[in-house]
């Protein structure tokens, strides 16, 4: 009897001989991702920004805070009065715009990474708890998140920074708190869907304890929407940090952060267009690139959009 069942099992044969493992997943991911041209452009732009940030001290022609007293508010090189030493001109106290923008990319990426990591980790833990335990824990966590969501996000961030004191670190913490509810809600919803599936019950019957069930059984199955959210909120974080910097509540001068640069240049907006335009364009293109990339990620990771 054992012989026959074994035989039958083997004769069913291999249904699917697709290769397994990380490389195959990556290849499948790329085939979906590359269908979206905007996403690919966004990805390459983002990679370029990362490279610029990493190699800032090699690429940048000058130091970000080095002053050239002989060249105050010098226009970009193609305008009359421009200087080839300062490709994008200088600001009011004679610092090279291009160098400051290049070093500024470090801050933007740093802000994005830190904010996303904080809000992702905390959000996932809170969301998992809410979705897993339900009942009072759920109500408690979700009502707090609703309160946070009820404030206009930038206003809340401003209040938090005002309480904590203006600095780049505090701005990042404030933005992370403001972004928290989105992660919590997303995780909770995904966890609740997964909880109804049989494999979770099966794991319980096997004797898997709550902690392992939450983080090892359920969490990996909830990651797709979280990755997309992380990519998209990366850009929101940069934007919010720039806004806080512009309002004087984020990075403090002379830090070459893009939002702070904008704030410093505010009074020259009519006399020297380049001091406001270039930081603005830098923020715009980076955020746009990340958003495009996030859309591509969603297309590639959302199982509902997949053709099997």
């Amino acid at each position: 009897m054992t012989e026959t069942t074994m035989q039958e099992g083997i004769e069913e044969g291999i249904i699917d001989s697709r290769p397994t493992g990380f490389m195959a997943d990556l290849r499948e991911f790329w085939s979906y991702f590359s269908e979206n041209r905007g996403a690919v452009i966004g990805l390459f732009f983002f990679i370029a920004v990362v490279l610029i940030a990493v190699l800032a001290n090699i690429i940048a022609p000058h130091l970000p805070n080095e002053q050239f007293r002989d060249a105050l508010l010098q226009p970009p090189f193609w305008q009359t009065g421009g200087d080839a030493r300062f490709l994008l001109g200088t600001d009011a106290i004679g610092r090279d715009m291009l160098s400051r923008l290049i070093y500024g990319s470090r801050y933007s990426l740093f802000i994005g990474c830190i904010v996303v990591s904080i809000s992702l980790v905390v959000g996932v833990i809170l969301g998992l708890m809410a979705g897993f335990f339900r009942g009072r824990v759920d109500t408690f966590i979700m009502r707090i998140m609703d309160v946070v969501l009820a404030f206009p996000s930038l206003l809340l961030a401003l209040v938090l920074v005002a309480i904590l004191g203006p600095s780049l670190i505090n701005a990042m913490v404030a933005i992370a708190i403001v972004q928290q509810p989105h992660y919590v809600r997303l995780t909770r919803a995904a966890v609740m869907t997964e909880m109804t599936k049989d494999y979770v019950t099966a794991a319980r019957v096997i004797g898997v304890k709550s902690l392992r069930l939450m983080f090892i059984t359920i969490l990996p199955n909830c990651m797709a929407p979280l990755i997309v959210q992380a990519a998209l909120s990366f850009s929101t974080a940069i934007l919010d940090a720039a806004a806080l910097g512009f309002l004087g509540m984020g990075a403090q001068p002379p830090t070459p952060e893009w939002g702070t640069m904008l704030a410093e240049a505010r009074e020259f907006i009519l006399r020297a267009w380049w001091v406001v335009t270039f930081p603005g364009v830098a923020i715009l293109t980076t955020v746009l690139a990340i958003n495009l990339m996030g859309d591509g990620l969603r297309d590639a990771l959302d199982p509902k959009l997949k053709r099997s």
Partner: protein, 323 residues
């Protein structure tokens, strides 16, 4: 009944509270309303009934995913309601389950090998190598190939997945396996293979099965004892042969008459039930089957019938068919 009793249920019930908005009292849903039965080593108890009759609730109680609202449930002689945590942990290992849907019961992000090793990882102190050997051994036993060890569930067909689910249930050497409609999601040709596998494993490990199904031809093939349920209550139970040959309860007879028989010359008495299964929130008074019963009389409306013995079958009916 003879043999070693591994599980004994005495009048177990499971009620759910159903919220009906802020202005109404929550209703009580009687998903399971008093079931008594025994599971015996090496034997199969089949639980039969239409959707919503409490079969799956029964499975959840027996596997201790949920606790019964009242009644007594003894596994290996220990009452699970009063048992302390440590004993309960050991009992958990003795009861395992195989689900209906092989696509939902395996974690899509877990390799087969890891899924099989997980029970050992969380319950025993076995080393990595031992666990791997045990997993490979069981993979072989359920008729799969060792190279499947490193594959993900989405690479398998329904039948193969169900084999994996059976293998996982066996990893902890359980005494009782609850099979919650294990073949109803499968192709008919695969059904037979899985049923044969299940039967072979029962013989080999002396397992007690609780086989939940709505497919009577499958039940006829695999069961030793059969329990027919209607609206949370067992209405007839007895050995397979008596029950299939001499069904007493009108509902059992209707169920049996609805099963197709591959014999063109047999004339069939077809009993058609009218109406729908009533809501378990507001079950009919008296015998819950009376609104649909062809042989209903006054008494059926007033008092629920108590099960009593007819030719070795426990029947809860005032007007059973006698032979």
């Amino acid at each position: 009944m003879k043999g070693d009793v591994v599980l004994e249920a005495e009048n177990i019930t499971r009620y759910y509270k159903v919220e009906r908005g802020s202005f109404q009292k929550p209703a009580i849903l009687k998903a399971l309303d008093g079931a008594s039965f025994q599971l015996i080593k090496g034997k199969t108890l089949a639980v039969v009934g239409e959707s919503g009759c409490g079969k799956s609730t029964l499975a959840r109680l027996v596997t201790m995913i949920e606790k019964p609202t009242s009644g007594e449930l003894k596994i290996a002689g220990v009452n699970i309601i009063t048992a302390d945590k440590k004993v309960l942990g050991d009992l958990h290992k003795k009861v395992q389950i195989v689900f209906q849907d092989p696509y939902g019961s395996l974690n899509p992000r877990q390799k087969i090998g890891h899924a099989l090793e997980e029970p050992l990882l969380v319950n025993t102190t076995m080393g990595k190598k031992e666990r791997r050997d045990a997993a490979l051994n069981i993979i072989n036993l359920v008729g799969l190939r060792p190279e499947y060890y490193d594959r993900y569930p989405h690479m398998f067909s329904g039948g193969q997945r169900q084999r994996i689910a059976v293998a996982r249930a066996l990893m902890l050497n359980p005494e009782i396996v609850v099979l919650d409609e294990p073949v109803s999601a499968l192709d008919v040709s695969i059904q037979a293979q899985i049923l044969n596998l299940i039967a072979t494993l029962q013989e080999q490990f002396d397992l007690a099965y609780m086989f939940i199904s709505h497919d009577l031809s499958v039940v006829k093939h695999i069961a030793d004892e059969v329990m027919v349920m209607y609206l949370g209550k067992p209405i007839e139970s007895g050995s397979r042969d008596t029950l299939f040959r001499k069904p007493h309860h009108p509902y059992t007879r209707a169920l049996l008459s609805a099963t197709p028989v591959a014999d063109p010359f047999r004339t069939k008495e077809r009993i058609v039930l009218r109406g729908e299964l009533p809501s378990p929130i507001a079950p009919p008074a008296g015998c819950t089957f009376h609104p649909r019963c062809p042989s209903m009389t006054e008494i059926c409306r007033d008092k629920p019938p108590e099960p009593y013995d007819i030719d070795g079958c426990m029947v809860a009916c005032y007007h059973p068919k006698t032979y």
